[in-house]
């Protein structure tokens, strides 16, 4: 690790958010609504132009919320590789998604390429882009205390909310291990950047196996630590009568809610309802199919 930066920032599930960010003033429950609605919007929308706009809107929001973007770039590079696979699939196996009267726009040997299949490919890819950007936005502005306190107010059990929070916490840890593994494999001559695009997905195995092995080891260690910190006490120890955990430290001191949150949640719901209505009227369909 190198010299620390001096800008005050908080750790989120995925990266960091500046201490001065307005995301830190937002209620944890509002962030839950963002998670739900921002991931629902791209599924309702079929039009790739709208979804692309929504994806870029999410990236702009990350800037507005002063979230660290350096990790985000990497995931968009992964999306580029995904694009290749989607388009190879719709070119070679596009007949099944091209509809009853497909239009052939090109022929590659015995393979006919359909415009509707390409349109389907564009829709799927851009939807993925919008979904990934929405998830990255949420992971970039949400902390463990946000999730724990929101779930507490939603009356989700202590055990379930702790496990869920820790599952998200591991996302950020994956990233740092992945970087180290990448460096370690580079030291033995494997550099993914020097590989042709088509080979990259196969090379990922060389990174994934150590990543999975290390993650399993970390999960076992985390499990032991949880036991050593009495995680099972509320479930098992009958003599601890106080162990009802109706309200926890995090729930008491990290919960916040203001009128602005009501406005944001109301807007999210209105947009969601609006999108459903627009979809029923066919306003969100894919013009390229």
């Amino acid at each position: 690790m190198a010299t620390q930066q001096v800008i005050p920032r908080y750790r989120t599930f995925f990266s960091y958010v500046a201490a001065t960010s307005i995301a830190n003033k937002m209620s944890p429950i509002t962030k839950i609504f963002i998670l739900l609605f921002f991931n629902a919007y791209p599924i309702i929308i079929d039009n790739p132009i709208y979804n692309a706009a929504f994806g870029f809107f999410n990236i702009i929001l990350m800037r507005v919320f002063k979230a660290t973007l350096m990790h985000v770039e990497k995931y968009f590079k992964v999306l580029m590789t995904l694009a290749l696979f989607i388009f190879v699939s719709v070119i070679f196996f596009g007949r099944s998604v091209a509809g009853p009267s497909p239009t052939v726009i090109a022929t590659i040997g015995p393979v006919e390429v359909y415009s509707q299949a390409l349109g389907f490919g564009v829709m799927v890819y851009v939807r993925m882009f919008a979904l990934v950007s929405a998830m990255l936005l949420w992971l970039s502005i949400t902390t463990t205390s946000d999730l724990m306190s929101a779930f507490e107010k939603l009356k989700i059990s202590y055990v379930a909310r702790t496990y869920l929070t820790m599952a998200f916490r591991f996302v950020g840890m994956f990233d740092s291990d992945f970087n180290t593994i990448q460096d370690a494999q580079k030291a033995r001559g494997l550099d993914i950047k020097s590989q042709p695009l088509w080979r990259r997905p196969f090379v990922f195995g060389y990174y994934l196996i150590p990543l999975v092995a290390i993650t399993i080891k970390k999960a076992i260690d985390a499990g032991i630590t949880m036991e050593a910190r009495a995680f099972k006490a509320p479930l098992k120890v009958k003599f601890l009568e106080r162990a009802k955990l109706e309200e926890t430290y995090v729930g008491r001191y990290y919960w916040r809610y203001s009128k602005k949150d009501t406005v944001i949640i109301a807007m999210l719901v209105i947009v969601f309802v609006g999108l459903i209505i627009a979809r029923l009227y066919g306003l969100l369909s894919n013009p390229f199919m």
């Binding site: 620390q4 916490r169 030291a187 092995a213 601890l240």
Partner: protein
């Protein structure tokens, strides 16, 4: 006095193994005691302490015989959760103990689980952070903290549960020197302020513990070999060394002098040792030997040709973190170099730049004349091998053979090695690293950590790099294993390889490195022969590195004719003789 921990004829073996890890342990620990358990790896230390809070037999699968009682509770019939209210435990690797992303949340987790109401939890968190001097860090992500702060967070997270017994499993083994010191200060204050009643520490690094612990226990092959009050424990250094214990320098020296009937007592601290030896010199019972201590150091052939040349090197990470600020170094062929400094000083970044894994932000790194900015990575790694601290970061094949072939096959695709050479190179690297042939088709993940480390080194060595960079070669290894690894690196050095190690262990630096580079805040503060660097205590302070205890002792005795730059106990013993 009723013991807080009472163990009778404890036997334990893991479900997957036929061998007993613990063999008939009988042990009593009394309230108020500070006990240190030491011994080589796989001696059963961690298994033994896991029985204190019920992780054994409840969370680990295996067979247990005998009885363990903690504060009168029978561990076999009590829940881990119930025992955790009385027994707090922290583990070796602080990072794997972090469950949440803010220090205060992390510290609140334990008392929250024990059912304390939020206001009470807040008081406990504030108190534990105050004791561990982390109050200003409460909003930080524990993962972002320095090594010492991380382990302090883990300590605070246990302390906040208000345990009667505190059990610490190798709390300093993964820390840099300043981190080690920070943890020892907290442990000392826990004892002196009686924040917990009883403390049990498992540790290989005994130097600081010798000053504060009441009693030491040596465990080997699952049996208690020695269980004595501190001074008596260190009275026979040879016995301890034979059994894999790294004896603190001042204890070893006083032990040897006691054996020769020159000194009456074992000294446990540097101050005690200085006082005792000054007295011996004044009473003319000891005299210095005028000799060149340098002649005891092994020498390898060093050529004038530069293996690595670094000029005005700057490096900034993508998130804007400045890691290196204008570094200049020339490493010649055949050198054995140690890079030292606290975490975050830029050591690992510099070494990754030397191996071509990172490219400079500005300035240049040349490997045998090749500029790393423009030379393809395979051409660089054929010359510079890099072994990572954790072998598990690079192992992924299902057989050891495939693992050893991996780098070579990458070189083959760039025509940097001939196919017919591969088998020969694998055999050669196995022979040098001591990887036995009969395990070649085994899965590497089934091997011990020490063997996995050798496999990782062998897989890099197979590429026949002229320079080998090893990051923390002795992490997780006990003393005999560490000596083994370092002797092996020395053998490679004698064969002509240039060796660069990154380490926090000053006894390793003192014992093997011929040249030492001390770094702080991305700059080089000291660079020269190890003897000169490690004896420069004043400048070393800025890198938060402490010279070996024996060096400080020899410097304190300079007025009596001892050289300032003694680095090992052997050198010290050779530099004095009875009058």
């Amino acid at each position: 006095m009723e013991p807080v921990i009472e163990i009778e004829d404890l036997w334990w073996r893991y479900e997957y193994s036929k061998d007993w890890v613990l063999r008939g342990i009988d042990l009593k620990i009394n309230p108020g005691e500070f006990v240190v358990i030491t011994g080589p790896n796989d001696s059963g230390k961690s298994s033994l302490i896991s029985a204190f809070n019920g992780l054994i037999p409840h969370s680990q699968r295996g067979v247990m015989k005998g009885s363990v009682k903690v504060l009168g509770l029978d561990v076999a019939t009590s829940d881990v959760a119930a025992l955790c209210a009385f027994v707090g435990m922290t583990f070796q690797d602080p990072e794997t103990q972090f469950l949440l992303s803010r220090v205060d949340e992390e510290v609140a987790f334990g008392p929250q689980n024990l059912g304390f109401p939020p206001d009470e939890v807040r008081k406990l968190v504030t108190w534990a952070l105050d004791v561990t001097r982390l109050s200003e860090m409460r909003m930080k992500d524990p993962v972002e903290l320095s090594g010492g702060q991380k382990q302090r967070t883990a300590l605070a997270a246990t302390l906040s549960m208000n345990p009667k017994i505190m059990v610490l499993d190798e709390p300093t083994s993964m820390l840099d020197p300043i981190g080690k010191e920070e943890i020892m200060e907290i442990i000392t204050s826990m004892k002196s302020r009686r924040l917990v009643e009883t403390i049990v520490v498992v540790e290989h690094h005994l130097e600081e513990l010798a000053k504060i612990a009441d009693r030491f226990i040596l465990l080997k092959n699952g049996e208690i070999l020695l269980d004595e009050p501190t001074e008596k424990f260190f009275s026979d250094p040879d016995f301890l060394i034979e059994n894999g214990v790294r004896v603190p320098d001042v204890c070893a020296i006083s032990g040897y002098l006691k054996k020769r009937n020159i000194l009456g007592n074992i000294t446990l601290t540097l101050d005690e040792a200085v006082d005792a030896l000054v007295k011996l010199f004044r009473e003319r019972k000891l005299q210095p030997n005028r000799m060149d201590v340098e002649s005891y150091r092994p020498l390898a052939q060093i050529s004038d040709e530069a293996a690595i040349e670094v000029e005005n090197l700057h490096f900034v990470y993508p998130d804007g973190t400045v890691a290196l600020r204008g570094v200049d170094i020339k490493i010649r062929k055949g050198e054995f170099v140690a890079l030292i400094g606290q975490n975050g000083s830029g050591k690992t970044t510099l070494s990754k730049l030397m191996a071509g894994i990172y490219k400079p932000t500005s300035g240049s790194v040349k490997v045998f004349g090749m500029d790393t900015k423009v030379t393809p990575t395979p051409n660089l790694i054929a010359r510079v091998g890099y072994v990572f601290q954790n072998p598990d970061h690079q192992i992924f094949n299902d057989t050891i053979r495939k693992e050893l072939e991996f780098g070579l096959k990458n070189l083959l695709s760039f025509k940097l090695v001939k196919e017919e050479e591969i088998e020969q190179r694998i055999r050669e690297s196995m022979r040098i690293t001591g990887v036995p042939e009969e395990i070649l088709e085994e899965h590497p993940f089934l091997m011990s950590k020490g063997m996995r480390q050798r496999i990782a080194i062998a897989s890099v060595l197979a590429m026949r790099p002229q320079v080998l960079i090893v990051d923390e070669p002795t992490t997780g290894q006990d003393t005999p294993q560490s000596i083994d690894v370092m002797n092996f690196l020395q053998k490679l050095n004698e064969m002509g390889h240039t060796i660069i190690i990154i380490t926090h262990e000053m006894w390793i630096v003192a014992g093997w490195a011929r040249r030492t580079i001390a770094m702080a805040e991305g700059k080089i503060l000291l660079d020269g022969p190890t003897k000169n660097v490690l004896s420069n205590a004043e400048t070393l302070k800025k890198t938060f590195v402490k010279p070996p205890q024996v060096t400080l002792l020899s410097q304190a005795l300079e007025n009596y004719g001892l050289p300032r730059n003694i680095l090992t106990v052997n050198e010290f013993m050779n530099s004095i003789s009875p009058s």
